[in-house]
């Protein structure tokens, strides 16, 4: 940077959600951190960015010319899919296999219903064109596609007005040349159409998942590319000198320029960086086993941090479709602050699945909603509406909340407060089911974990959920509203690369594995250069392995020099298998399906200001407020801004801050650490 910026060096993380765009700006020279929320502008995505930058300039003295890092997490890709507003695509595939996309993996949710059905595919059958072509599993090509057949498919695709073409052929995981040849034929015929092949997007074995991932990439490509281009222009127009970076589903970063074509990598941008941010905060606070809980208006997201490490998976779902690339594992349930409570024909109270969303939103937001939501129940119980919310952009009207909940209380013959408490209990129990499943799937005992709530609604319900799960610790970060934005600031550059090898694990596989590793390493290094990364780098190697006959692989971390030592790799796999599945088969033949490499460009971690520890001292409440928690009672309200390190208090209590409210139940001992996190501990 030039001399003008000598006194300031700003790093800005920006994450967009359904209702708000969150800003987290760090002045690295002072260690000062500023956060901000701006209402989104759905009609002009990206415009809220300038509003936010202006406010940061105005309030915090940010100079756009002194921004040395700009990291963005965006939902533009995932919203394009959920709202089905993506590109009109054609799929070119093998003749005889045009229905692979519709058949998917056959099984479907809601298996007890005779009306169960699949979502309409993103590429309907009349835009899927089969071409005579075949590769075998060994990569040989008994039948090559002819230019005539491809041309015919392109002519028909054009006839129905497609914007782009996705190419996916059987066994291109083994040999991408067939797809590359078809792509060249298409580009020669129709240079105006964009083309993606499955082997360039993510060359993984499993035709449906690979095709689906490639289709997702093509489907969001025009909108994502347009959005990112506009973003870069807006930043440049404001005089921001640095190139924008994007948070990725894998929790890492890439350049916004890369994101224009590698769109599929940023579909879970914001949710993944939330977990990265949470992991960073947890590490600071000394917690290594963490369950994160991010509650928004329509959903709650959960993730596990095990031994300080974010957990990855390769089969996340985007709406109705599998996304088969490495992603930070996040589970979701459609219960959030906007979930609507109702009473069924038998008088049984339920919560969800309907949601008031962000429009009209909960009744207490005063935007026209009348149905009782979880947020309204919070307001009735007194956890909400005691102080200003969302940096003054939301007013809570508790009378509207009472009126909405009363519509259920009357027919049940209960008080409004009792009903509101019951709504909260049910909402917590719905989350309980999902979190218990997550723990069981991962094979961990959640009682060893600390719950870290964030997002707008997390801190309100987090401690109650922790109690339901038998967890004894809760860690409430200082700025729960901007954890995702913060995650962007602490993330590393990360590119993932894969070669499917599908070989038995023995000495004969060694040359193939070494060659695959060398190719992956070259790819990874080239990728880091292309992102403009010139700092320290790491590579991480792993393999997807399984016992012969299994059909799920498990990812086993490897060291590069183990590739010449099958026995060493086998030992690593046996160990990982035991860890996950509680057993191993020392005599079982092992198959190595994929070799994977992550190229990681390390970024400097921000050095945030922290208070030196002070003596423990009782916190002073601002006032007493009336809440309903097993009956009506007066409990202390603390202002978060006044809670200094060492401050201690006991539940029940309520802690108010700009962007959320922390509800502290009975039996909790609370104290503030030197990073201003609040720790709750429950005696067993």
């Amino acid at each position: 940077m030039d001399g003008i910026c000598a006194p300031a060096d700003w790093k800005v993380g920006v994450d967009i959600g359904g209702t708000f765009m969150d800003f987290c700006a760090l002045d690295t020279t002072s260690g000062r951190i500023a956060s901000l929320k701006v209402l989104t502008t759905p009609d002009d995505p990206g415009a809220e960015l300038l509003t936010g930058l202006d406010l940061l300039t105005e309030r915090e003295g940010l100079d756009p010319a002194c921004v040395t890092r700009f990291v963005h997490g965006t939902t533009v890709g995932i919203n394009t899919i959920l709202q089905r507003k993506g590109a009109k695509l054609a799929l070119v595939t093998n003749e005889g296999f045009e229905d692979v996309i519709e058949l998917a993996r056959l099984a479907m949710p809601d298996m007890y219903s005779l009306f169960c059905h699949r979502a309409e595919p993103l590429v309907p059958r009349d835009r899927i064109f089969g071409v005579p072509a075949r590769l075998r599993a060994d990569g040989s090509e008994p039948l090559a596609p002819t230019p005539e057949a491809v041309r015919e498919a392109v002519v028909q695709a054009r006839g129905v007005g497609v914007e782009g073409i996705v190419v996916s052929f059987l066994h291109s995981w083994r040999n991408g040349a067939q797809e590359t040849a078809v792509k060249a034929m298409i580009e020669a015929e129709a240079p105006d159409l964009f083309v993606f092949t499955s082997s360039e997007v993510w060359p993984v074995i499993r035709e449906y998942e690979r095709s689906s991932t490639t289709i997702l990439n093509g489907y969001v490509h025009p909108r994502v590319a347009g959005y990112l281009e506009a973003l870069e222009n807006r930043l440049a127009g404001r005089g921001v000198p640095t190139k924008a970076l994007l948070t990725k589903s894998n929790g890492g970063l890439m350049s916004a320029f890369e994101g224009r074509r590698d769109c599929v990598s940023m579909l879970l941008s914001g949710t993944a960086s939330g977990v990265i941010g949470a992991a960073w905060l947890a590490r600071q606070a000394g917690a290594s086993q963490v369950l994160t809980l991010d509650i928004g208006g329509t959903s709650a997201d959960f993730a596990l941090i095990v031994d300080g490490e974010v957990q990855y998976g390769a089969d996340e779902r985007i709406g109705d479709f599998p996304l088969y690339i490495p992603s930070v594992s996040v589970s979701s349930i459609a219960i959030g602050g906007g979930s609507i409570a109702s009473v069924d024909g038998h008088g049984v109270l339920r919560v969800g699945p309907e949601s008031a969303g962000s429009t009209p939103g909960p009744a207490c937001y005063g935007r026209g909603g009348t149905e009782p939501t979880v947020t309204d129940a919070m307001a009735v119980c007194g956890w909400l509406g005691q102080a200003e919310m969302a940096y003054g952009q939301l007013q809570i009207d508790r009378d509207l909340a009472r009126a909405a909940v009363a519509s259920l209380a009357e027919p049940m013959g209960r008080s409004v407060e009792e009903t509101a408490e019951a709504i909260l209990n049910i909402a917590v129990s719905e989350m309980f089911v999902e979190v218990e499943k997550l723990g069981s799937r991962a094979g961990v005992d959640l009682r060893d974990f600390t719950l870290m709530p964030f997002g707008g609604g997390g801190p309100m319900m987090g401690a109650f959920l922790a109690r339901e799960l038998g967890m004894s610790r809760v860690l409430a970060p200082r700025r729960p509203g901007v954890v995702s934005a913060l995650g962007g600031l602490v993330a590393d550059m990360r590119g993932d690369f894969l070669q499917t090898v599908f070989a038995g694990l023995d000495d004969s596989a060694v040359p193939q594995l070494r060659a695959a590793f060398d190719a992956l390493r070259r790819e990874g290094q080239a990728w880091l250069v292309a992102q403009g990364h010139d700092g320290a780098a790491q590579i991480r190697l792993s393999a997807d392995m399984r016992y012969a006959g299994q059909s799920y692989e498990i990812e086993t971390p490897l060291e590069p020099d183990w590739l010449s030592d099958p026995a060493r790799m086998a030992a690593a796999f046996h160990g990982t298998h035991r860890q996950i599945y509680d057993f191993e088969d020392q005599n079982g033949a092992i198959e190595i399906v994929n070799l994977r490499l992550s190229a990681i460009g390390l970024t400097p971690k921000p050095d945030m200001a922290q208070e030196s520890a002070v003596e423990a001292a009782p916190a002073v409440p601002a006032r007493q407020v009336r809440v309903h928690l097993n009956g009506t009672r007066d409990i202390p309200l603390f202002e978060r801004a006044n809670l200094v390190p060492g401050a201690a208090f006991h539940g029940p209590a309520v802690v108010c801050q700009e962007d959320t409210t922390l509800a502290v139940p009975d039996g909790a001992a609370a104290h503030v650490d030197r990073h201003l996190n609040i720790h709750l501990e429950f005696a067993e």
């Binding site: 007890y112 059958r125 109270l349």
Partner: protein, 661 residues
């Protein structure tokens, strides 16, 4: 806790316990049956052994209404840490074929059993005459593998080594069985821990009254659904293609009587118990879960908020006379009962379709065919046994959408295997995997298309089994003017001079280069096809799902260069004949029933019911043998007389009646 305001909290905790058990089992099991096919169940049960919670995402759909009570009572003196088990279809009527091994474990609270956790796994093999222990040709239970009546498998936390030794000695894949059983024990332990947590959370009394309230709530929901169904008697019959190697149809008959908020399912008139393994061992339990599976689907479809537990079975009474296919007496074989169960479900769907026509779909394909290949891999020099994709599907046309293609309805829990994985592991090469044109029954809402799969093999004497193949003769029916669907088919080398149609066979032997093509049935159509919007038919044609000829013949839609010719379509549709009658069965069943009328079956049932059980299937077969040129009840009587003349040892009905007195 029986407070309705907080019942949902208890329901969620109960479901979480069940889901936890399912994940633990799925995660730690060894066999493909459990891990891939997900042929397992887990449940949490009350003091009586009645299921009160099941998982909603993992496992099979058959047992939310299962009670372990009878099996539990067959053992005395349970201690903490005990686990009991059985796989015997004829002891306690919990297990329904020998591969299904059920386990249960008491949950103690201060010395008192307050709940049970339980579940089943399908063992890959339990010994017996054939690998996997399942073949339609088997005729008695003793050929179907080792049987364990209810007994303790684990005593206070310690496995009974003798039982494990016996099992290891008698089954073909002992490691898989033992591994899966241990995984299930782990799941029961998980469930026990979760129930203990519920006891701590809700208290003993709160837990017990809450669990009772969950069953009451499910019962109330089921009764509410029944109350909304008009009172009356709704009769329906359907046929499996073949009852045994003798290849006569197997008829299931149901009279559904709705009376207020309860219902009777009377299966009188169904076939006698069979000399094959297609029998369904219900033990005559009026609420046996295996008779009720179709009902679960109907109830859940009518109210997706339904709690799935034994409470939903209370308003129902099933009548399945002893010695019939739905209540066989030992030692009838039962291994392939899942084929019959598919037909049993469609009989129930057909009866409810008459009761609430506006809210039920047409028939789903109803053939949950599992395909296995046994071949030789030249690359590795090894013998390979592998499952290829299931060939299922086509859901029936729904009240407001087309039937699901290639899956759906009561087949929605089955998964396929990626072609790329199969071709890498098994020496086969797929020629086609997709949907078959013109196989969905025509209708205002079209039936779901059939799945079509074809693959080539490379080694001599490659053996194929295609278990549960059905619907090659009797089509999935259409309703309310909708047409019956396309038939299932298995062909070797289709489209070549030496093509071989395999009929209803469920095995084939292939030679190098042979292509085997399998097609499921489709789903039935719903509503008058002439009322389907012409643009929708045109879209079906563009998507290759309906041919231009079928568009014209079945839907009265004329296309010109892909566009609807409005005038020609209007003209054709005006002339079209509407199918009268609630059901459309297709020509095969119409022809069969012209000979085998309702009266003919009533006569047959009378004849067979009067005979001792061991004579019934023999006499049925002999009567069928003599029906050539005969029709109706008189035809049956004549064929029976001829049978009696040929076999004078057949006990005379009067004689048996007197002997019984």
């Amino acid at each position: 806790m029986s407070d309705k305001m907080t019942l949902q909290v208890l329901a969620n905790h109960a479901r979480a316990a069940a889901e936890n058990m399912a994940y633990t089992l799925h995660r730690t099991a060894h066999s493909a049956f459990v891990k891939e096919t997900q042929d397992f169940t887990v449940m949490v049960m009350d003091r009586l052994g009645d299921t009160f919670a099941v998982p909603m995402e993992l496992g099979a759909t058959w047992y939310p209404g299962l009670t372990y009570g009878r099996a539990i009572e067959m053992i005395d003196d349970y201690c903490p840490g005990d686990v009991a088990f059985t796989n015997d279809p004829y002891s306690g009527h919990v297990a329904t074929h020998a591969p299904d091994t059920h386990l249960w474990k008491p949950v103690f609270h201060e010395g008192e059993v307050v709940a049970w956790t339980g579940g089943h796994i399908h063992n890959t093999d339990m010994g017996g005459a054939v690998p996997a222990s399942l073949s339609r040709s088997l005729t008695e239970i003793h050929q179907e593998g080792l049987r364990f009546p209810p007994m303790k498998l684990v005593n206070e936390g310690v496995f009974d080594a003798q039982i494990l030794r016996i099992m290891e000695t008698n089954v073909r894949k002992p490691n898989l069985n033992i591994g899966d059983i241990k995984a299930l024990v782990g799941a029961l332990n998980t469930g026990e821990r979760k129930v203990q947590a519920m006891l701590a959370r809700f208290g003993r009394d709160g837990f017990l009254s809450g669990v009772a309230a969950l069953k009451d709530q499910a019962e109330a929901q089921a009764r509410e659904i029944l109350r909304a169904i008009p009172d009356g008697e709704y009769s329906f019959a359907d046929y499996a293609d073949e009852d045994s190697d003798f290849a006569n149809p197997c008829r299931l008959n149901l009279t559904l009587r709705i009376r207020g908020d309860s219902a009777e399912l009377d299966f009188t008139g169904s076939d006698p118990q069979l000399g094959s393994s297609l029998n369904v061992p219900s033990g005559g339990d009026p609420r046996h879960t295996i008779l009720m599976v179709g009902v679960y689907y109907v109830l859940y479809t009518l109210n997706p908020q339904l709690l799935l537990n034994t409470g939903i079975t209370r308003p129902f009474t099933c009548i399945a006379p002893e010695g019939t296919v739905l209540n066989p007496v030992a030692p009838a074989a039962v291994g392939m009962r899942s084929l019959t169960c598919a037909r049993l479900r469609s009989v129930i769907f057909g009866a409810f379709s008459q009761a609430v026509p506006e809210r039920m779909p047409a028939a789903p394909a109803g053939n949950n065919c599992i395909v296995n290949v046994m071949t030789h891999d030249e690359r590795s020099g090894q013998k390979i046994i592998a499952a290829v994709n299931p060939v299922v599907g086509g859901g029936g046309g729904m009240p407001d959408r087309d039937g699901t293609n290639g899956s759906g309805a009561d087949a929605a829990y089955l998964r396929n295997t990626p072609i790329e994985i199969t071709e890498t592991e098994v020496p086969v090469e797929f020629v086609k995997y997709g949907l078959a044109r013109d196989t969905g029954g025509a209708g205002r809402w079209r039936g779901g298309l059939a799945t079509e799969m074809a693959f080539r093999v490379f080694a001599p004497d490659t053996r194929i089994t295609a278990r549960n193949r059905d619907r090659s003769r009797f089509r999935p029916w259409g309703v309310l003017g909708g047409r019956a669907a396309g038939l299932a088919e298995m062909v070797i080398n289709p489209g070549t001079p030496d093509a071989r149609q395999m009929g209803s066979a469920d095995t084939a032997i292939l030679q190098p280069g042979d292509v085997l093509s399998l097609r499921s049935a489709g789903g039935g159509g719903r509503g008058n096809p002439m009322e389907r919007e012409a643009w929708r038919v045109a879209l079906d044609v563009r998507r290759g799902q309906v041919s231009e000829e079928a568009a014209r013949a079945e839907y009265g839609v004329v296309l010109k260069a892909g566009e609807v010719d409005e005038a020609a379509t209007a003209k054709l549709r005006a002339e079209a004949r509407v199918h009268e009658g609630h059901f459309h069965y297709g020509p095969e069943r119409d022809t069969f029933e012209a000979q085998w009328s309702e009266a003919a079956y009533t006569r047959l049932t009378d004849i067979l019911t009067a005979l001792p059980v061991q004579w019934r299937f023999f006499v049925k077969t002999e009567i069928f043998r003599r029906m050539e040129g005969r029709v109706g009840a008189e035809g049956v009587s004549a064929a029976f007389d001829e049978t009696c003349a040929r076999f004078p040892d057949i006990p005379q009905p009067q004689a048996t009646a007197e002997a019984a007195e």
